[in-house]
Amino acid sequence: MKKIALVAALVAVPFISQAETKAQGSGPSPYTECGIGAAIFQNVGWAAAISNVIWDLGTTAFSSATLSPEMCNAKKVKTATLIIETLEGMEADLASGGGSYTTAVASTMGCASAHNAIVAKARSNYAEVVAQPGYSAQTRQERAAGVYSSVKAAANTVAPTCAVSL
């Protein structure tokens, strides 16, 4: 029963996220709540190549976070930004049982010492998310929200002290 409840909560994340686009500032997803877009690192083709423009990563997220600090604290914003910017690597790490991306996210959460336990738990959480039929049609932001929720739920379970304010 507990498992079903967890799955329901995780699966609901994307749909909650979609609802949040209509009601900014409410709900649990940092992506809509804190305005962390999926295109901070836009590829501008030749522009990037010829000028090597490096996009002002983080500023957008930080500004949004500053606007509502009680909802979008720095830890939440940075964790969420790291996940969405390295999403494919993060998913690969979760699938393989941990790597440099999950190490980075645990460090950003302030949970470095609990990395292995968090990944083990997050892995099973995320397996339930990915198993849902709608997964492959999700947007990047929805998938990132799924990873974020899986990691957050795992940290809450195995290392609750460091999961505070996520």
Binding site: G45, V53, S96, G97, T108
Partner: protein, 589 residues
Amino acid sequence: MNFYHSESSKVWSEVQNKDFFLTPEGHTSPNKEFAAFASAVRGYQTDQSKGEVLCRFPARTTLLLKEYEPFNSFKRPDCKDHPRYINPAKVTGVSLIFASGYFESPASYFGHTMLKFETPEKDFDEFFFDSSLNYGAQVTDATGNPMYIVNGLMGGYTASFQRNNDFINTYSYTNKDMRDVWEYPLELTPDQTRFLVEYSSELRHAKFKYYFFTDNCAHRMARLIEAATGKKLVDTDGLWLLPVEVVQTLKSPEDETSPLKDELRTPSLKSRVRDGYLALSKSDKRAVNSYLTSKPEEQLSLSKGLSNEALTVAFMQYDVQLAKLSSKTKKSKAIPKLQASRAILLREKLARPAFKAESKMVTENPSRSITPATMKHPGSVQVGYLSKPDKDALNLRFQASNNDLLTAPFEGQEASRFIMGAAEIETSFEDVSLKRVTLLDIASLNTNPLPSSFTGEYSWSLKAEYGPRNNICDKCSSAGVDAKIGKAVRLNEDLMLFGLIGGQVNSRETSHNDILMLTSENGVLIDVSPRARLLAGINIEASPERGDPAYLYKGSLSYDISPQTDIRMSLENDGEESAALLSLSFYLN
């Protein structure tokens, strides 16, 4: 400190924004700027609430207090409350980062340089925001702007420094652009490290004009390192300064005082897929190929039969494909199908016990001896003796290139031809003539071992030049553009076969060509030894109007006499006559 120049009676700064300076005349008067800053430092000694200027210019403050005796005992503020202050004490190391180029964007092919700041404890803000320093133009109008290249070349864009997160930055290069990233830790004293951090912090407020060839990321990173180390690194007054030249100058094997002592490589995702695929057994390779090229309804059952290693390679390959398609301005219709196939593999991976596959590898000791630091310099002068049917001649050639097939690429790059400009002069007893001018000569010999029906990757070449058809004929020069597509296969580490076919548009007819020609270039490239390479092949040309194909048999052998010198011999035969060229190449920065 603020890049002042003087020319006769005129003095000006490279910093373009006047609000960077403390005085309205600061842009053109270093004396007034110095006086204003010295006044601010003196003011702080009597009123310590006035530390804003000193915090805005921490490097100036360090220099003034250290180098000017009257200021030696002056106090400086604790700037911790200054917006976006970077505490130099927390930075324990600095690395030069070199991101290799990629063929999908030729302008990037000479790479990109930036700096990375190390902090021992990954403090939240330092880890997240400020762990790397980039310099680039602020371009928002690249797409569809015909003036884009002109602006890039002629200083039409404003450029500035930005600080970013190195971890995410590296991910963007390796997993989105598929570029290898090389890291060169700098051996700096604590004072030098501190000054570098302070100076880069100060310059974040500065805006410059961007010039693609002469005032680019390489130029600015070199200037920062020069300011911190006092070591003259590069000639910033040349026709160009390429990112790889900064690495090569810092890592010069002749220089025992070089601050670069190590090099680390983070391979791109594409490199990891390639290496992972080549390490698979034959049956695993077949299983991966089968999965990639199967219909979605068959993939679920196929995924169950993949070994862990094959599953990992196939999964990563989907990320390569998706990154490639996602970078296009127009959203590809293939993305949903790829996402669905990837999701099957992700579910399968998650359903199995955890199988560790390192997601980001850093190779400390590159397996091949050629790296960005040791590869041949991008400019070369070739002096040769040419023997052809009607006369012998001295042949002089200058070319700017990354590779030309006879030079060895650095680790992670495939053998290729990337010439971004060349000129050739032929001198005989009778005359001196401009034989060839090449604007561009690129051959991307893509040897991706995965099925090209899935990757959509092929080899291709593009050339725009004025010159003769070959070394044999004498009056067969025309200007033209030549484009080809084909396939390259690496049979083993030392042997590559390639074949390209395409067409050519020429400015005029000669006895050897029509305006329109069909062309084909086919060859074998062999690494005979670590110092010697052999390129042999046959070029076929035919006029669609006349038919009558012409064949040119070619063979070239190069041998590295020293790291920056090689000797080359090439032979050409058109079935009737031959030409031979013996040349010495000197590679220059």
